[in-house]
């Protein structure tokens, strides 16, 4: 990428943000989240795992911004450190779902026929389960390791990509430029991979960012019912679940801060979607 195209891109990005203040807000939040994920463990004031019976359940104060939990761990440190894990889980799950789902959908949409019918029924089968329950089942059956949470989340996200890819590929399979590509001697697979698929990316971007948020919620939900990440790993969902029992007794900060962090992260990804699409779509650039 040349210097001028970088410059072009930044100008375009700036335009997308100024046009839509909500996207700008999301971008700012995203920056925060990325910093927390990358540098979190180095930034926090306390060891997120260190227990200390002497300072258990202290409300937020100067020393402990978000208070301490029932084992005296610093909630702020845990919330910040948890960012990386939550982000990794959702990123891995969404990436997996996107790659497999969109490949399946693209093939189904392009070739149609039996490939389409089989994929369609397979997706219907997955979709016929309330998706969260399916994820629960998968984790319950396979055991609650981080990998399994990722797989479960990926499985329930998969139909969205597959359906979207199918629809987007299907409307383009007979487009003029695809026919032209055939005349240029491209085989089916090359047409699919190089000509059609890249064009389906802008709408997929929205889906990816929505799903990132959803994947985080999902992992947290699994943790909430005890099928998620294992303690004492800091993770937002577990922290809310653990903190939930303390709300009624007045120790609201245990659940509140991780809950807010969780919400903000999901919120950011959800908002980011539209901005991301505008950014990726070459047609929006001049």
């Amino acid at each position: 990428m040349s210097l001028s195209s970088v410059k072009n891109f930044t100008r375009h990005a700036r335009y997308v943000m100024t046009e839509n203040p909500v996207t700008a807000l999301a971008a700012l939040l995203f920056l925060f989240i990325v910093i927390a994920a990358v540098a979190g463990p180095a930034l926090v004031p306390y060891d997120p795992m260190a227990t200390n019976g002497g300072r258990a359940l202290q409300p937020p104060s100067w020393n402990h911004w978000f208070g301490t939990d029932h084992l005296g761990r610093d909630v702020f440190s845990r919330v910040v450190v948890a960012t990386r894990l939550d982000l990794m889980i959702s990123l891995a799950a969404v990436a997996l779902a996107f790659v497999i789902g969109s490949a399946m959908g693209a093939v189904a949409g392009y070739f149609g026929g039996w490939a389409d019918r089989i994929t369609g029924r397979l997706l219907d089968t997955i979709m016929a389960f309330p998706l969260f329950v399916l994820a629960m089942g998968v984790v319950a059956a396979a055991g609650n390791t981080i990998e399994n949470i990722v797989y479960a989340t990926a499985i329930i996200n998969l139909p969205f990509y597959a359906r979207m890819a199918r629809a987007e590929v299907n409307i383009r399979r007979n487009a003029g430029f695809v026919q032209a590509a055939r005349l240029s001697g491209n085989g089916d697979w090359r047409i699919l991979a190089q000509h059609i698929f890249p064009n389906t990316l802008p709408p997929m971007m929205v889906q990816i960012s929505l799903n990132m948020g959803w994947a985080i919620l999902n992992a947290a939900g699994l943790s909430f019912i005890g099928l998620g990440v294992r303690p004492p790993t800091p993770e937002w969902g577990i922290m809310v679940a653990e903190g939930a029992n303390f709300i009624v007794s007045g120790e609201w900060w245990l659940a509140f801060f991780p809950g807010v962090a969780l919400m903000l992260a999901v919120f950011t990804f959800n908002l980011l979607g539209d901005g991301l699409r505008d950014l990726v779509d070459p047609q929006r650039r001049t």
């Binding site: 203040p21 909500v22 329950v133 629960m136 089942g137 319950a140 396979a142 909430f224 659940a255 999901v266």
Partner: protein, 343 residues
Amino acid sequence: MVRVPKRLRLVGYRLLQAIPVLIGIVVVSFLLTRALPGDPAVYFAGPAASAESIEQIRVSMGLDRSLPVQFLAYVGDLLRGELGQSISTGQPVLTELTRRLPASLELTGFALLFSIAVAMPLGILAATRPNSWIDHLCRFVVTAGVSLPTFFTGLALVYLFYFLLGWSPAPMGRLDILYLSPPHVTGFYVIDALIDADFETARAALAQLILPAVTLGLFTLAPIARMTRAAMLQVLEGDFIRTARAAGLSSNKVLYSYALRNAILPVITTLGMVFSFALGANVLVEKVFAWPGIGSYAVEALVVSDYAAVQGFVLSMALLFVILNLLIDVTYTLVDPRLGMED
């Protein structure tokens, strides 16, 4: 004339499409339950059971047979309409499901009503003023809604409205202790109570519904509002809207009679997905609000490897889903005259 059979055929075609899905679900539910950890025989045998008594129960439950044999037995039971007995609750799964399903449906239904009532106007508002601050605000609000973990929202609402303010009745399920459930007609307490002309009970049931329904509804605002906005925007850009405006139709007429009726079609499709979404989220909400629904039943069943209950749950969900999609298809054909007519 030609239209009716064509639509009927479309519905029939959808039904046919559901068959492989149902088969797939039977297989998946069977495999999933067999993959669950924990030995139901051990659970069934209870504490202090000896190895022999566990083995004895294993044999009586048919768990000693090979998987294909177990599967055939399972399919055989299904064909006879038998869903088996739930270990964890000790009830026939069918009884449990028929009692719990209305509870979940009532909750989900109210949640969707709430959600639609809020999200559709927001979506329309946003679509009529794209990129204005109102648009951004709507987007902000609905996104905030979908970003809230339902279990967190539920807890927060209970804490605020029940524990602190005391505005809401205790989160103890479908009815407060003081009331008896109304005579069973539909299984929906509010409706049953109204049928019985028992307005107090209806009110009480409704009061119990508000917090969980709002919790769940907040979560489903975003997809509905987003889809409404997108569909409205697309329709409003349509040539026929320009024609209608050029013909001097009032903006209300254009917006509601022309644009919204067209935009509602993709929204209806979304509703199906949202419903399935909500049923999933139900699991967490039911847990928080002690709602005796099908979702909390499934969680419990999963945790104790209650094969029959999990299978029954999954199957009823699938059936529900198929029926729902059919309903959506039928609604669609009612709203959209084009369906089934184009080649």
